[in-house]
Symmetry: C2
Subunit: 368 residues, 2 copies
């Protein structure tokens, strides 16, 4: 089966100069992938030329679909939604909606992508608010964290829905029947937190979900639960703070090893280990967050992504399609649903496949 994915080539800080080379590199290593390049034709073709796409198979695997408008990174949601009806983002999503493609990847403005995706694809039945979900590495493996910035003012029932979507996702892709759910709070005790959190805790305790209870910020990296639920404001701050700290620590290690000729010699001697560590913490390998709760697979890539990171985001979407994540998600939600959860079974890809589904929706850094 060909995996057909639309690429919003104009999204992100760098547009086609990042998205097109990433797409070219991807089809060269994935013969069953077809990446539909959506956007302004001229810069896309220029980048294809630059990437020396002349082989007929490659040309066929990288069709160009023109779109005359571009959603800028600072465009208000209303502009993206109401004024730019021929934007690369919109056209790429339309192709998923009409079944021409199984997935859309965009590094565009998160607010706009969420709004346009929701408008074009619609939400799964029962889902009030889609959420941005990511997999964050921890000591034991990965945790799925949501929401990461799609919803800044949440009611308790929205947090319950995020838990249901997270449960469904992990149950589907990890094969864990009863993944544990943690509610991000400022203490383990039920009396902790603000009113929204306390009420969300009550709803979760009353639900059929495998609710572990409150977790704290450090539990994200301890791997205390399979799923961590929080509102988009808190989730976004946790994610960005993590990015900032990781960058500072990396810079400090460099500084310490660069202090003198002796420490530089030590760095050379320890290089194989340092390189391994660096590779493990390279956030670009976790690029690509999933918009959950929509009738289609949409992967959001960090706006500042380079081609390497964008290619990883394409890989997430590809793996999601190969593993039938959308079908599994809809099915699992139906099975595990509380009265609030969606019951639509919508398939956007074949089940099975050998790709590790645990990383299908991994990311470290969606730009919001």
């Amino acid at each position: 089966m060909t995996v057909k994915i639309t690429i919003d080539c104009m999204g992100g800080d760098h547009g086609p100069s990042v998205t097109v080379p990433a797409a070219v590199s991807f089809v060269r290593s994935h013969p069953d992938a077809e990446l539909v390049l959506v956007g302004l034709e001229e810069p896309i073709r220029a980048q294809l030329k630059r990437a020396k796409v002349v082989d007929p198979r490659e040309i066929a695997a990288l069709p160009v679909v023109p779109a005359s408008e571009v959603v800028q990174m600072d465009d208000p949601v209303e502009v993206a939604l109401r004024k730019k009806k021929d934007s690369s983002m919109r056209v790429a999503l339309n192709l998923v909606k009409d079944g021409s493609a199984q997935c859309c990847i965009s590094a565009g403005n998160t607010g706009a992508l969420m709004a346009v995706s929701r408008y074009v694809l619609k939400t799964l039945a029962g889902v009030e608010r889609p959420a941005l979900a990511t997999v964050m590495p921890n000591r034991k493996g990965y945790s799925t964290v949501l929401d990461l910035g799609a919803n800044v003012d949440c009611e308790p029932q929205h947090l319950l829905q995020f838990a249901e979507m997270g449960h469904a996702l992990v149950a589907a892709v990890d094969g864990k029947e009863r993944p544990t759910i943690g509610l991000l709070n400022i203490g383990e005790e039920v009396i902790k937190g603000n009113e929204v959190i306390k009420r969300a805790g009550e709803l979760l305790r009353a639900s059929t979900l495998n609710f572990y209870g409150n977790v704290e910020g450090d539990d994200i990296y301890k791997g205390t639960t399979d799923v961590i639920v929080c509102d988009g404001f808190v989730g976004n701050v946790a994610l960005k703070t993590s990015e900032g700290l990781a960058q500072m620590l990396t810079a400090m290690i460099k500084e310490e090893f660069g202090r003198s000729w002796m420490t530089r010699l030590m760095a050379v001697l320890a290089w194989p280990v340092l390189a391994r560590f660096k590779r493990r913490v390279d956030h670009r390998r976790y690029s690509g967050a999933a918009l959950l709760g929509l009738r289609g697979v949409v992967i959001k890539c960090h706006g500042s992504a380079d081609a390497y990171a964008f290619e990883w985001a394409i890989k997430r979407g590809y793996d999601a399609v190969k593993n039938g994540v959308q079908a599994r998600l809809a099915k699992a939600m139906e099975e595990n649903a509380s009265p609030l959860a969606g019951t639509d079974a919508l398939s956007s890809g074949a089940s099975g496949g050998s790709v590790d589904p645990r990383i299908a929706l991994a990311t470290v850094s969606p730009k919001v």
Copy 2:
């Protein structure tokens, strides 16, 4: 001048077995310090005996004031406030209130410490809600971050007050006349964030403070602004998430260097650099967060602190007193105040002194 500090010996997960050895070690290296040990007499005396306190000067520098009750780490605020009137926490704070001591250090339950401090000491005029402030390291030095968990449901005017207190603190202790203030948000643009944050941004822009604008989680570690303001829920999650990530990365470095005899040899060769890095990121050296907005200096130490970390928290209090932080804070708030800020000039210590004031209120990990 003798610096007189009360120690809530019963606070924290470990009580006198941590607090007393820390106090003993501290007076041994600080001849002008007098640490009043407050709590159950028997375990305190047992620890003093164990630490071989026999020198008359040391005995004089470590007077014991009995208190018959203990605020447990999981006691509700009401119990600490209404039932345990002879708790070590309460007695230690009373000694600050009546002028017998200049500062109180406690590793006890944060909610209880905040409530009892507020009840005993009262807030500075104009301060609606005291806040828990910390100094977090960044690439350029330090940023003062508040609130870290004292206030979970904040109104916009509370965030403005935190900014005013943070401004006053940094202006006072760092000698920066116009420290920059950042509002922790999920994007730089003014349209970002929830309603409380947007309104707080408006209040900050309209204030006389040197408001930089919105900052994101990674700006904490970039050092974008001198002060970072957030509600206690978000601040606590950012802090705990940072702790968790730092611990995970440290564990990963260990893992990579422990993989084989060859990597272990590399670790030995690189040891001087690794030890230096480890020391730089040791969060125990940043132990001790300040409760700002009270009529007295109160330092909260992490509940799980060991003696080394608790001694650093004592050092924070000692430095705060030596540098006349309370007087400077009250004075600076009066000078820089918006109509909301306090105007009480309350001195709790002499000005001047040679201790680096930038670390006077530093911490990484108050347990909430």
